[in-house]
């Protein structure tokens, strides 16, 4: 019976879900405070300043962020105490509810919270670290919140219980948590949610990390205080989370005035993270996270190493570990940092306190965050330097040479943050990198060879394999030869008369290898020629002359050239076209073949676009919205197709993008193929009736519908063909969300239509009267209805990011209102359908789309 009472009906739930934004929330929740009083035995609430009744500010000033950070370091957390604290929180909840139903509620709570909380201890580190946060929080929050909350609690117990029930229900998800955190003005609620964050899955919270951090930076202290423990806790757990936080904090603080920025909470937290004070405390590390054997201290005497290296195989590992240590310190632009003086060089980084630094080095373990930061820094450095070069060709050459230098420092404990799995970067196939099309900046695309591993923080960094793998085996063969002692060598003079003879021995090897490799490489194409070589060998024996027709040779030549898959021609002005057109699988295979690491089973190829000089915060926002809509459509089973691509914001003017594989821009398609889009589809996928074409067409329609809605909802502008990709399966993918919401390019008033729909697109869909076109419109309608249902989830993402932001997409005051209006909450489904019809019609007929394409053609040469 209690159960039924507890379960909230969907209607209620929706009510509650919306409530925060409906402004009634302020009053409803104002007195809600119960779970925020997790009093522990250590510090009873009564002891804290009783005078602070209303104003938290009164008690807050002494809490300095930096001093907190220091305090955290010294704080020794006893898991037992922490556990008790957790239980006490629950106790409080029970007491405050006071009713009989509480017992059920508690069990429920225990379940919801428990699933995560108890899962954590398995992941040992987390289990211990988590309670620590609760401690911290207690210390910070006690002075004001508990008291005031207590006082108010009685008046509104009925409303609270509703809210509490929601919070404790299974349906309370991260999206709601964020929403309440943002909208609630009540410190108690905020503190509760701050605590509650620990119970969500890491991946779920990670999605909202930009929102969390933006709130941390730009909203009032209470919100910040609620969020901080969670962030600190996660930073301790993970290097990659730490860096992610630091980057985002930096990026979202950048809009503040420079003087306030310096002292802002965000900047301070960023400093704490970057100073690596948030590393797992040393005892814990020793007890629970067995480190790989620490590399020898970087300052090891070099002569010893050199005189030994290369002489015996066992010394190789030693050498490697040395370079491992150096890499971790000196990766990137600071190549001159040598093993002997890491300290000197490191001191240039003003963010690292020298004391912790020297400690690190004495302990012999490299600074946790340094390798990755250096890696990213050197990638950005390359971008900056490329931007100064005038031509694409020079840029490409320079890029290749810079990357080849970078290769020297790999493998290292570095990774691509855009990847979905843990790995170490082992090599950058530098010749594959391309400079992307951009007028004055120099974004570039690199491919990165990685080795998948269990945990990049603890797994050993792979051993370097020299570029010329074939040769190294030869060197090994010779090792015993040179391992002989001096006496032996002296006595062995003239035993082997000629060293060069050995050379002959392997040259044979090499030839053998070449011949073995050949069939593998070209299995698919005709094998006439390898047959020929066989023929020529046999003919030698039989002495029968072999005759061939000249016509055959000529024919084979033209056939082979015709049979090679359609590739784009090399264009020095557009080097990326060829690289992007090559099918991903083929590229992976090709690079794997040429890589010394290719034989390893956990070898993977990743790619990333490095952007330097571009603000990716809007891209990140768009990614979040797309991702949200994608999951909404998935949840509502609407087959709309979109492809959100990952964005990594590193600062307000740099970042990385995960490239969409197997896709080229429609501009490139048209320029290279000189065909209409429909003809290109026919060329790539086959005739109208073939299954391949129909599949591609369906994909095209679904993606078109998806992106049409996106473009409408987000008001994505600057939609020329260079910004729309076409993948190998027929999907279109919109990229470049530089102009969304309230901003449009140069405010020329172009592109007034809802989205871009050209006749070419309609042609691919089979014309205006085709079934597919109707399907397209139907999909849009379904998509819009689904999106409308979950509008809050979408709007929330945007709304929070508006805080403190000077991004052009938030220009003006009506951004959010307009966004909400585009969901047309008030329309009936029939009216919505009419709206879709109208929008499609409008876009079709839109003269501005055509005009804009023409404009782009004239100004940027984009077709």
């Amino acid at each position: 019976m209690g159960d039924t009472e507890l379960e909230l009906s969907p209607a209620q739930l929706e009510d509650l879900q919306k409530s925060p934004s409906v402004s009634s929330c302020a009053s409803t929740t104002s007195s809600f405070s119960l779970p925020s009083s997790p009093s522990s035995g250590q510090r009873p609430p009564s002891s804290s300043s009783p005078s602070a009744s209303e104003g938290l500010p009164a008690s807050n000033p002494p809490l300095d962020v930096i001093s907190e950070g220091v305090g955290e370091l010294t704080l020794v957390i006893d898991p037992e105490v922490a556990k008790r604290a957790c239980q006490e929180v629950l106790q409080k909840v029970k007491q405050l509810k006071g009713e009989g139903e509480v017992s059920e509620a508690e069990t429920k709570h225990g379940l919801v919270n428990g699933t995560a909380a108890h899962a954590d201890p398995a992941d040992k580190e987390g289990g211990v670290a988590q309670p620590a946060k609760i401690h911290e929080e207690e210390e910070e929050l006690h002075p004001g919140t508990v008291k005031s909350a207590r006082r108010r609690q009685k008046n509104n117990s009925s409303k609270q219980s509703w809210l509490l029930r929601l919070f404790e229900s299974k349906l309370f998800d991260i999206s709601m948590a964020i929403s309440y955190l943002y909208n609630s003005k009540e410190p108690g609620v905020q503190a509760y949610i701050g605590n509650r964050l620990f119970s969500f899955r890491n991946e779920d919270v990670d999605f909202y990390l930009p929102q969390l951090l933006n709130m941390y930076i730009h909203m009032d202290e209470d919100v910040g205080d609620a969020i901080k423990p969670y962030v600190v806790h996660r930073c301790r757990q993970s290097i990659s989370f730490s860096l992610q936080c630091a980057w985002l904090l930096g990026a979202y603080s950048s809009d503040m005035h420079i003087s306030t920025q310096r002292h802002s909470r965000g900047t301070k937290l960023r400093k704490v993270i970057l100073s690596d004070e948030l590393k797992p405390s040393s005892q814990r590390a020793r007890r629970e996270m067995p480190q790989p054997p620490p590399p020898p201290p970087p300052a090891c005497p070099v002569p010893a190493h050199l005189s030994e290296h290369g002489l015996s195989p066992s010394k190789r590992t030693h050498q490697r570990s040395k370079s491992d240590a150096t890499v971790s310190i000196s990766l990137g632009s600071n190549l001159k940092r040598t093993a002997s003086n890491p300290k000197v060089e490191n001191s240039q980084d003003e963010e690292l306190s020298s004391s912790s630094d020297s400690l690190e080095y004495e302990a012999g373990t490299p600074v946790r965050l340094t390798p990755q930061r250096e890696f990213i820094k050197s990638l950005m450095g390359i971008g900056k330097r490329l931007a100064t070069l005038p031509t694409k060709e020079q840029k490409t050459q320079r890029l290749i040479s810079e990357l080849s230098l970078l290769n020297h420092k790999l493998p290292a404990r570095v990774w691509l943050p855009t990847a979905a799995f843990d790995h170490h970067v082992v090599r950058v196939p530098h010749t594959q990198a391309v400079v992307l099309n951009s007028k004055d900046k120099a974004p570039y695309l690199i491919y990165v060879e990685v080795l998948e591993c269990e945990n990049f923080e603890t797994s050993n960094v792979p051993v370097r394999i020299p570029e010329t793998r074939i040769r190294s085996t030869r060197s090994v063969e010779n090792l015993p030869d040179c391992g002989i002692t001096l006496d032996q060598r002296a006595s062995s003079f003239s035993i082997v008369p000629n060293y060069d003879n050995d050379d002959e021995a392997w040259s044979v090897d090499d030839i053998g290898e070449l011949q073995v490799e050949l069939p593998e490489i070209h299995t698919n194409s005709c094998d006439n020629i390898s047959q020929f070589s066989v023929d020529s060998i046999t003919s030698q024996e039989s002495k029968e002359p072999v005759f061939i027709a000249a016509g055959d040779i000529r024919r084979r030549l033209s056939e082979q050239l015709a049979h090679t898959p359609t590739t784009f021609k090399k264009d020095p002005e557009d080097p990326s076209a060829v690289a992007l057109k090559e099918p991903w699988e083929e590229k992976v295979r090709r690079i794997r073949e040429g890589s010394p690491y290719g034989h390893l089973p956990n070898w993977r190829l990743l790619s990333v676009i490095v952007k330097c000089g571009d603000d990716l915060r809007q891209e990140l926002l768009a990614f979040q919205v797309l991702k949200q809509l994608q999951s909404i459509w998935e949840q509502e089973r609407v087959p709309l197709w979109i492809k959100p691509y990952k964005i990594l914001v590193i600062s307000s003017d740099s970042g990385m993008i995960e490239p969409v594989v197997n896709a080229v821009s429609i501009h490139q398609v048209k320029k290279q193929s000189q065909l209409s889009l429909l003809d290109y589809f026919l060329q790539e996928h086959g005739n109208y009736t073939t299954e391949a074409f129909l599949t591609a067409q369906r994909n095209f329609v679904r993606s078109c519908a998806g992106y049409s809605l996106i473009c409408y909802l987000l008001q994505v502008k600057d939609r020329h063909n260079g910004n729309i990709l076409l993948d190998a399966e027929g999907h279109i993918i919109h990229i470049d969300f530089g102009f969304i919401l309230s901003s449009s390019p140069r405010n020329l008033g172009f592109e007034t239509s809802a989205f871009k729909l050209t006749t070419e697109f309609v042609d691919v869909m089979g014309g205006l009267d085709g079934d597919m076109f109707n399907y397209y419109k139907m999909l849009m309608l379904q998509g819009l209805i689904a999106a409308r249902k979950h509008m809050e989830k979408v709007v929330q993402i945007v709304e929070i990011m508006q805080q403190g932001s000077h991004l052009p997409c938030f220009h003006g005051s009506s951004t959010i209102r307009n966004l909400k209006e585009r969901f047309h909450m008030s329309l009936t489904e029939e009216q919505l359908q009419a709206l879709v019809e109208q929008m499609v019609d409008g876009s079709m007929r839109s003269i501005t789309t055509k005009l804009y394409d023409g404009f782009q053609y004239f100004t940027n040469g984009i077709m």
Binding site: E393, H408, P466, L486, S492, S494, F532
Partner: protein, 689 residues
Amino acid sequence: MAQVEKKAGLLRRTSSSKKPLKEKVVLMYDEIFAKDDPAKSNPRFWDELFLMKVNLEYLEGKLESLDGDEVIKMKDNINSLFHHCVQALSEEHQIKVVNALQTLCALFRGVHQKNKSASGFDIINMLMGFDKAELRMKDLMESLDSLLCGDGSESLKSLCLKLLLCLVTVTDNISQNTILEYVMINSIFEAILQILSDVSSRGQHGYDAVVLLALLVNYRKYESVNPYIVKLSIVDDESTLDGMGMVVHKALTEYNRQYKEKEEENQGGFFSTLTSMVGSMFIADAEEKLSVQTNEAILLALYEAVHLNRNFITVLAQSHPEIDVAVTPTTPVPTTPTTPLGTTPPSMDMMNSPELPLDPNLQTSNLLITFLKYSSIVMQDTKDEHRLNSARLCLIILTCIAEDQYADAFLHDDNMNFRVNLHRMPMRHRKKAADKNIPSRPLVCAVLDLMVEFIVTHMMKDFPMDLYMRCVQIIHKLICYQKKCRVRLHYTWTDLWSALINLLKFLLSNETTLLAKHNIFHLALQVVNLFNMFITYGDTFLPTPSSYDELYYEIIRMHQVFDNLHCMVLRVSTNAGQWKEPASKVTHALVNVRAIINHFNPKIESYAAVNHISQLSEDQVLEVVRSNYDTLTLKLQDGLDQFERYSEQPKEAAFFKELVRSISLNVRKNVSLNTLSQDILLKEFSSIS
């Protein structure tokens, strides 16, 4: 130069005081060359000796002037001097170390100059005494090793290297330098590597270290196991190899830059052309001015690295910014006075900055590009022996590169495009190609261009047959790779085809003179076989179907040359004589070319007759070719895509012996200059101590 000045200074002093005034150190030398043990009268004799500034001329002169009997009497004292020198090397007093190093230098040189004919063992006996030689040399090498690897003064390290260079080059033929046996046993290889791996020490001593290594590798290379060869072949530490590459790169770049400067000087403006015209009336060969002395030592080092160490191949493609723009060294390295290029360690300031400089005008370059440019300069003029040797070595290095699979892979890498400005000889019948117009292409195009350039420019009376053979073989090796790996290179193959046909033409027209000296049939066979590669395997590596048509067009157009060649080889092979066999091989190789000519010529003639055209255009001929392939049958020849791998022994052994000898002489000449002018160094230490 410094020597002369010093002598002048001495002279002046003597002339002013009229009486020969002897330095204290000279008196002490005299004591050594007396029969008694100098330490007998003065127990602190040796301590004091190394505090004195060394007088190298005197010491060397004294050693030289000794005759056989005296030497034997002196032996104990000289042994003792050597012994104490070695001991002084581990002194704390750096001034003593410096003096000991210089004294050792003088000892090695003096003893050898005197005893040119003496066997190595006598020399060892004289310097160290047989019984103690092993121990002494072990101590010496260990001291040098620790000096080179230690944190001590850079000038001291430089002096150590000079001493080693001096020791290595005391004999003309390095393999006769028996003392080096001890250097083999007590290897300083690791010290050399360490110098190369460290950025700053590489900058200052890299050049000497690389030259020293190149020479040591050549010690009794063919007769015994040289540990330096073994060790060099297995080095896989990238920073070391890269360091070696940087040193070579820098030296070659410096050469290229100097050449360019001279070239620009020569062509600068009207006035200079006028003066050079006037000048050329007096100087026999204006070209002389352009020849900058080549640096064979560094080229040898490059060869050894490429040939012995396969990991080094990666270094070739390692990109660096081009250092063509003169980066003037602001402060010259104190220990190295300016000497003619080819021996001066180039200023290494570029190498000290590991970051690529940010200059948009700088083209990225790599060792291979620099080497190709260097080769293009060196190959221009092969008249004098040094340049001929350099050109030969360049081609040998290219042969090694062309054989290496990894090198081939990056040569043909479509993503690694470079503009390579090769130097082209100014010739009457062609204009100098504008530098800017060179397209950015895979590196192999530059190699092919270089080969074509060589083929076109060296058809002269004094025919460099050997170089031509290497050149054609390099092309063959590259094409074999392309065939195997099906690389379709977008190269203007017609350039190569016409160059090769012209070469055949030249061979034909100079048959009699050339046959007197060379086996021209061997070269002709190679050339014809290149055509056979294109004819029979063209489908595997030609870029387009029309390029195959163009091949036929070119053969048909120049059919006269092939006809004549066929006549010639037929004539020679029917006569009995030494050329019978090689000539008949060419006859067989020509089968397909002749089949093509015989097949298409009548077709073209009839086409012309039918259409009443006297002169067919290229397109019309191509049309005839295209439509008549099917009736043509070709014979598949054996082993077209097989080649003999390069091996140094035995074919090249003599060349390398001679080369090393000339390098030794050159290094010795220049090292003496350097070691003698250590005044600054001495000052440095005397002010410290």
